[in-house]
Amino acid sequence: MPDLRIIFPEYALGIHLPSLVPYIALFGTIGFILMILPGLIWIERVVIALMQDRSGPNRVGPRGLLQSTADVVKLFFKEDTMPQSADIRIYYLAPFLTVFCAFAAGAVLPLQTLTFRLVDSSFKTVPVTVGDVNIGLLYILAVSSLQVYGVVLAGWSSNNKYSLLGGLRGSAQLISYELSMGLSLLCVVTLAGTCQLNKIVDAQNGLPFGIPYTGVWWQVPLKGSIFSWFWLGTLLVPVCIYTIAMIAETNRAPFDLPEAESELIAGFHTEYSSMKFAMFFTGEYVSMLIVSGLNAAMFWGGSLPPLNIPPLTWIPGFMWFIIKIMGGIFFFTWLRASFPRLRYDALMNLGWKRMLPLGLVWVFLMAVWGLFRPAPASSDNIPAEPVTASQTTVQQVAPPVEAKSLASRQR
């Protein structure tokens, strides 16, 4: 099979290229998010208009493309009002927290992998992520659990009963759906055997259901194909749970109870106007991108093409990743146009009594399946032996260190 991946040299112009990769990922991620934001709002409007049989944006620019720009200009020049009895510092802190947490979660998304030919002519695959940390998944969960503070504090500090109700609803909803979200992701972690997102993507680069890869002709197009991604590997239920939970986590319709405009005016951001409102808006769209990206990486193969055949494999990995994220965004919009808002008790019922028990059962199922299934197909990046070896060295090394620190403590 001809390998068409571009292979980069380790050094170019005396610069060590693999160590530049995190910076490329940093600027790439932030640049992509900032560039796509106006586009997202335009896409959402056009898609909803299409689904509701309306014209949609068609006044500003060709096909209404400049509508988002006009909105941004409007938000810049709008009067920045503030309620008199607001808790000023927290009132200003809340929108910044929202945007910060949304952007920070993007740091571990695996955009694609680059292959480098090292000086000793061996090959090294480097994942394009800002931080390729072993707790990648936990990091995303941690940062997205901090997003609650933006909603809660905005609702509280505005000193408005509608805002407060929105904030309370938001905190209860986000806490409830975080659990189901974590359980559905745990199913994937059970099968992949790692929390590192690029390794989870790599674990999907095999045959469906972990059949050993031998290189027979019919196996080649199936390797890393749509059938071997974890949406099928975990038997469909976790991806459904995650998708529902991710919509609830981003406060989007039909789970937009924290800002339910027919009941609470605008919920937690009732008292925010101008750029502070724009920051909440930005935070919501960025976290939509992030949860779609996590969905793509965990369940939909990340940067892998849907079939391992030439015209599809020529497209670089990050393009596939973006296409999958955009699929997620389209799904968000689709649901927003299709479903009415849930009642509050129905929301809690769904989260605690349906999704949480189902997720628990599925984790057990996946754990049993993980014991009996064939070994993971592409285990080349998941070292089984060296780690245990390093574990033993650690255990050998650790006692002297403890003794040393004890000795210095006694001194």
Partner: protein, 170 residues
Amino acid sequence: MATVLFWILALVSVIASISMVTTKNPVRSALFLVVTFLCVAVFYVILSAQFIAAVQIIVYAGAIMVLFLFVIMLLNLGTPQALVERGSLQPAFAVVLGISFAVTLVMSGSFVTLPAVAAQPEVYEPLGTVRGIGINLFDPKQPWLFPFEATSILLLIAVVGAIVMAKRKV
């Protein structure tokens, strides 16, 4: 790099802890506690215990403190003037216990050995990762499997007990 980060965050966490105690506003007090938790999480990362750091943020900053805030807002506590008691022995006890705790810390040499511990994170690195903790916790050869499972059953009993206490008619 790690040392500079440590001292900056040490300052921040100490200031946040003191503000947490001294602030009259309960919401701000809770927020200062969150700042302290985040600083502690970064300390864990500096000590190469990434898993504990993530769990610290998820459990304490992300879940427990949100519930605290939730309750504070639900009760709508303002500045509690009535809670300041007159003629209580609490401040005297607090001062005595605080001084004795500080003396214990200094005597045990925690401050003296800090640079030495911070200088050797490489040795502990695989122990702090997800894989390291998993292997050490669930390996039957290690002694931690039984205590871990026993603790989890204890927590389960606590959860069931809380539900039974809160809801008499199930």
